[in-house]
C-alpha cells in the first residue's frame, strides 16, 4: 500500500470515528427549558455529573419567568417539540395534564420514592390522581422580618400568624424615612405571578375570592375593596417609593440591603436573606407565618412548586425521565448539601428533608414547612370557590385575566386611579374574559 492510500484510509477512518462520536454525544442530548431562579442555576452547575453518570447530554434554555411561560405554553399548544423537559408550576400542570399534553410520571423507580414528595406538592402537580410533574422545589409565603428593628420598635412578633392590623402597625413603627428604612416591602409589580399572586393570597385572608361558584367575578365585593384599600394605605404609609414596580427580585435586593423592616414573600427567599455573602442583614432575620385578618382563619400565604415535566410526544422520554429522577431525587439534595450547606438545598419538595436532623437546624426550615401545610388549594378562602389554587385559579384563562387585573391594581398603587376605579375595571376585564371563554 502506498503512503498516499494509507493516508487516505486513515483520514476516512478518522472521519468515521469522529462522526460516530458526534452522533453518540448528540443522540441522547435533551433540551430543558427552565426559569432563571437561583436553585435552577445551581442545578445547571451540577449537570455535568448527570452526564458523566448516564452519558446523556443536557442543553439548557434558561429564561425569565414570564418569558418562560409564554415560550413553553406556545410550544405545548402548537406541539412545537422544542423541549424534552419543561419547568412548569402548579398552575400549568393540572391543566396540561388533563389535556394529555404531559407524560404521566406514574412509573418512577423505587429508589426515587415518589411517596416521599410532600402531599401538598404532589396534589398540586397531579390531575385525577396522576402525577404529571416532579417538584424541584416547593414554596409557600411567609413573613421575613428584621429582629433588630422589631426590638427597636418595642414590638414582638406574636406566635403563630399575626393579624394584618399588627403588621400595619409594626410597619409604621419601623419606618424610618431619614435612614431609608421602609417598614414593609411587598410586591406591586403587574403580572399574575408577581403582584397578582401576593394580592390574591392577601385577599383570601380578607375573605375575598376571584369567582363565585357560577364564575362571576367578585371584585365588586366589600372584601376586595377592603383588601386593596388596606394594601395601598399600608404601602403608602410604610412601603418603599415606587413599590408599584417592585417584584420578587426588587424586594429581595431591598431587603438584603437592609431597607425593609418586613417582607412577605416566597419561603425560598429565606435562604437568600440569611446568606451572609449576599445579605447585609443575614444575622438578624426572623420568620413568621403569613398574616390573617382578625376573625378570619385563612392566612395570606400561597402554595407553589416549580416542577419538571415531560411534554407528550418527545422522542427522548426515557432520557428525560432519568434526568427528572436525578434532579428531584434525595441524592441531588444531598449532593447540594455536601457542597454548599444544608441551607442551600432546594426546599419544600420532600418529607424526608424536613425529617432530617441536619436540615432541622436551618432557621427557616420549620416555618417553611408550617407555611406550606397551612395553604389549602381546594379551599383557599372563606367562601366556596369553583377553582383550585391558592394564589391563582387553575383555569387556562387565568394567566391572561390576572395579568390585566394586576395591571389595573398597579396603576392604583402608583396613584393613577382610585381603588374603586381599579376594582370596577378588574370586574369588567374578568367578566369579559369569562364570557369570551364561554363560562358565563
Amino acid at each position: 500500500m502506498s503512503l498516499n492510500s494509507t493516508l487516505r484510509a486513515a483520514t476516512a477512518l478518522g472521519l468515521i470515528a469522529a462522526g460516530s462520536a458526534y452522533a453518540d454525544s448528540h443522540a441522547t442530548t435533551i433540551t430543558i427549558a427552565t426559569v432563571n431562579n437561583g436553585d435552577m442555576i445551581r442545578m445547571q452547575g451540577y449537570t455535568d455529573r448527570f452526564t458523566e453518570e448516564t452519558g446523556i447530554g443536557v442543553e439548557w434554555v434558561t429564561l425569565e419567568e414570564n418569558v418562560l411561560r409564554q415560550r413553553v405554553t406556545t410550544d405545548i399548544t402548537t406541539k412545537g417539540g422544542q423541549f424534552d423537559i419543561m419547568t412548569i408550576g402548579m398552575y400549568e400542570t393540572p391543566i396540561w395534564g388533563a389535556n394529555g399534553w404531559l407524560v404521566a410520571l406514574d412509573d418512577l423507580s423505587d429508589d426515587y420514592d415518589v411517596d416521599d414528595i410532600l402531599p401538598a406538592m404532589a396534589n398540586g402537580l397531579s390531575s385525577d390522581g396522576t402525577l404529571y410533574a416532579a417538584p424541584f422545589y416547593g414554596e409557600s409565603s411567609m413573613i421575613m422580618y428584621r429582629t433588630d428593628l422589631m426590638e427597636k420598635a418595642g414590638l414582638e412578633m406574636p406566635e403563630g400568624s399575626p393579624t394584618w392590623g399588627f403588621i400595619r402597625d409594626a410597619a409604621a413603627k419601623m419606618t424610618d424615612r431619614d435612614n431609608d428604612i421602609n417598614g414593609i416591602c411587598l410586591r406591586g409589580k403587574a403580572g399574575w405571578g408577581e403582584g397578582g399572586a401576593l394580592i390574591t393570597a392577601m385577599a383570601n385572608s380578607f375573605g375575598a375570592r376571584w369567582f363565585d361558584e357560577d364564575w362571576n367575578a367578585q371584585f365588586d365585593t366589600a372584601a376586595w375593596n377592603e383588601t386593596l384599600t388596606f394594601f395601598t394605605e399600608m404601602m403608602n404609609e410604610s412601603g418603599p417609593a415606587g413599590y408599584a414596580t417592585n417584584g420578587f427580585n426588587e424586594n429581595l435586593s431591598l431587603f438584603q440591603q437592609g431597607k425593609c423592616g418586613m417582607w412577605i414573600d416566597a419561603t425560598v427567599a429565606a435562604s437568600f436573606v440569611t446568606n451572609p455573602n449576599d445579605s447585609t442583614v443575614a444575622d438578624s432575620v426572623g420568620f413568621a407565618l403569613a398574616p390573617h385578618k382578625d376573625g378570619i382563619d385563612k392566612n395570606g400565604n400561597w402554595l407553589w412548586a416549580w416542577a419538571l415535566a415531560i411534554p407528550a410526544g418527545t422522542q427522548k422520554e426515557d432520557a428525560a425521565k432519568q434526568f427528572i429522577e436525578w434532579a428531584t431525587s434525595k441524592d441531588y439534595i444531598e449532593l447540594v448539601a455536601e457542597n454548599e450547606g444544608w441551607a442551600n438545598v432546594p426546599p419544600g419538595a420532600r418529607t424526608s428533608l424536613y425529617e432530617n436532623p441536619e436540615y432541622q437546624k436551618v432557621p427557616f426550615a420549620q416555618m417553611t414547612l408550617d407555611s406550606i401545610l397551612t395553604a389549602d388549594p381546594n379551599n383557599p378562602t372563606v367562601d366556596p370557590v369553583p377553582y383550585t389554587g391558592v394564589q391563582f385559579a387553575a383555569i387556562p384563562e387565568f394567566a391572561g385575566v390576572a395579568t390585566e387585573v394586576s395591571q389595573e391594581f398597579s396603576a392604583a398603587y402608583a396613584g393613577q386611579q382610585s381603588v374603586d376605579e381599579a376594582l370596577a375595571k378588574a370586574q369588567d376585564i374578568t367578566n369579559e374574559a369569562m364570557e369570551a371563554a364561554g363560562y358565563r
Binding site: 391543566i95 408599584a244 384563562e397 391572561g400 402608583a414 396613584g415 369570551a436 371563554a437
Partner: protein, 288 residues
Amino acid sequence: MATKASRSAARLMMAPAVILLLGWMLVPLTMTLWFSFRTYLPLRGGDQGWTGFDNYVRFVTSSSFWPAVTTTLVIVAGVLAITIVFGVLLAILLDQPMWGQGIVRILVIAPFFVMPTVSALVWKNIFMDPTNGLFAHLWRFFGADPVSWLSDAATPSIILIVSWQWLPFATLILLTAIQSLDSEQLEAAEMDGASPLARFFHITLPHLSRAITIVLLIQTIFLLAIFAEIFVTTGGAFGTRTLSYLIFQRVLESQNIGLGSAGGVYAIILANIVAIFLMRIVGKNLDT
C-alpha cells in the same frame, strides 16, 4: 417583437414568482381573517368552529379597547410632535458649518441604529430607574425626590424613549431637505431686512413642508406598531397598553387566537384610515 407565444411563455415563467409573492402576502392575511371568525382557544382543545362576528363585537365592546386606541394615538402624536419640532431645529443646527461636522452628524444619527429592545432596556435601567438611574441621581443632586418614571409618568416616558429613537430619522430627512435650500434666497431676504424668525417661517419652513409630510407619513406607519419599548418597560401597565399590545395580550397571554385575530383586523383598518388620511395631506402637499 414579442409574439403571442413568447408573451404567454413569459407569463408562464413569471408565474412562480408572482404566485410566491402573492402567497407571501395573502396567506397570513387570509389566515388572520379566517381565525377572526372562529372560536380558537389553544388551551381548551383548539379550534372550536365558527362564531360569526362574535370576536369582532367582543373586541370592540371590551373595556380595554377604547383606552388602547387612545393610548396608541397619544403615543403616535406625541412622538411625531417631538421628532418634527426637534428634527427641524437639529437639522438647521447641523446645517451650519462647524468643526467636526462629520462626527457630530454620525453621533446624532446613531440612536436610530440601536435596536428598540436595547434602547428600552438602557433607558429603563440606566436613566429612569428610581433608585439607581441617572435621572434619580440628578434629581437627588438638586435636592428633589426621584421620580419613578415608568410608573408615575409611564406614557410620557415611552414617548420620550421612542422619540429618542426616531429623532435621528426625522433629522436626517430634514437635513437633506434643508441642504437643497437656495442660500441666495436667504441672503436676499436678509439684505431686505427680514428677521431670522421671519426668514425661518417664510422661507425655511415652507421649503421643508414636503420633507415634513414624508417624515409624518413614514413615522406614523412604524409608530402604530411599536411594541418592544412597551413590553420591556411597563408590560402594558400604567395606561401604556396600545392596540398592538392589547392584541398581543389577547393572543399570547389570554391564549385566545380568534379574539386576537379580530383585533388584528381592526388594527389593519385603523392603520389604513390613518394612512389614507395622511396620503391626502401628502398628495396635497406634493402637488403644490
